[in-house]
């Protein structure tokens, strides 16, 4: 039921929504999140604007981990389907990084599943971001404790 893609190419939100909802008349709400490369990515105090970001992943395990996260979302929330697309490779400021879609008869499960999916992707899928600054230097992004706390929230709720 879940569509999962790990790809270097960009995605089109409208096209992915159309693919997820095609031929269905039982969907009342579509929740969506798009993560984007911003100029101050890892830390707002970064010394330099981020010029580019490189996303590394663990081929094989990545798809497996995302599939498990999507399964969890489908078990926890009354959704009719979901889509997760995560880009890898080198991205520039303003580029899309990740797309999460979740569809449901009603808005609340769609919104909840969307938040759950992105929270869990941030902490349970094997991706690593390296920022490249305008001055030519670079640094691996540190994991944020706030992300662990956000994902942990779903454990408490569940």
């Amino acid at each position: 039921m879940a569509t999962i893609k790990v790809q270097t190419e960009d995605f089109d939100v409208s096209r992915e929504i159309a693919a997820l909802t095609a031929g269905r008349s039982d969907i009342g709400g579509i929740g969506c999140f798009v993560g984007v490369v911003r100029e101050r990515a890892g830390a707002d105090q970064a010394p330099e604007p981020v010029a580019a970001m490189t996303l590394e992943h663990y081929p094989g395990m990545t798809e497996r981990a995302i599939a498990r996260i999507a399964e969890q979302a489908e078990q926890r929330f009354d959704i009719l389907g979901c889509t997760v697309i995560h880009r890898v490779g080198t991205l520039r400021t303003g580029d899309n990084i990740v797309l999460v879609l979740a569809v449901s008869a009603h808005r609340q499960p769609a919104l909840d599943a969307t938040a759950f999916l992105i929270d869990w992707l941030k902490t349970k899928a094997p991706f690593w971001k390296r920022e490249e600054f305008a001055d030519g230097s670079g640094a691996w992004v540190d994991a944020r404790e706030a992300d662990d706390a956000a994902a942990e929230r779903w454990s408490r709720d569940g």
């Binding site: 993560g35 996303l55 590394e56 992943h57 663990y58 094989g60 395990m61 497996r64 981990a65 995560h86 990084i97 990740v98 992105i118 992707l121 941030k122 902490t123 349970k124 899928a125 094997p126 991706f127 690593w128 971001k129 390296r130 691996w140 992004v141 540190d142 994991a143 944020r144 992300d147």
Partner: protein, 90 residues
């Protein structure tokens, strides 16, 4: 069951890969190595980039056969063992 001479595959990601200087290697496990933690000790003893990569054990995450695992997890010939920092995708 794999024979003791079947190697394990070890994968490195992100800054661990950079410090180690490679992304993948094969290793026939010495008999004394039973867990991920044992393997980390073994690799760190090589010194150089390996010592540097594994210097702070608590920042190392790992997966055994593409599942997240604790450093206490058992490993066996034929396993795929990956080392990486905490994930930062999404």
């Amino acid at each position: 069951m794999n024979a003791p001479t079947t190697p394990v595959t070890i994968l490195y990601f992100a800054w661990i890969r950079e410090r180690v200087g490679r992304s993948e290697e094969s290793l026939v496990l010495p008999a004394a190595i039973a867990t991920v933690a044992d393997l980390i000790d073994h690799l760190a003893e090589r010194g150089g980039g390996y010592a540097s990569a594994f210097v702070t054990r608590r920042t190392i995450r790992c997966a055994v056969n593409q599942e997240f695992a604790d450093q206490s997890a058992a490993i066996a010939p034929g396993d795929e063992i990956a080392f990486f920092p905490p994930v930062t995708g999404g």
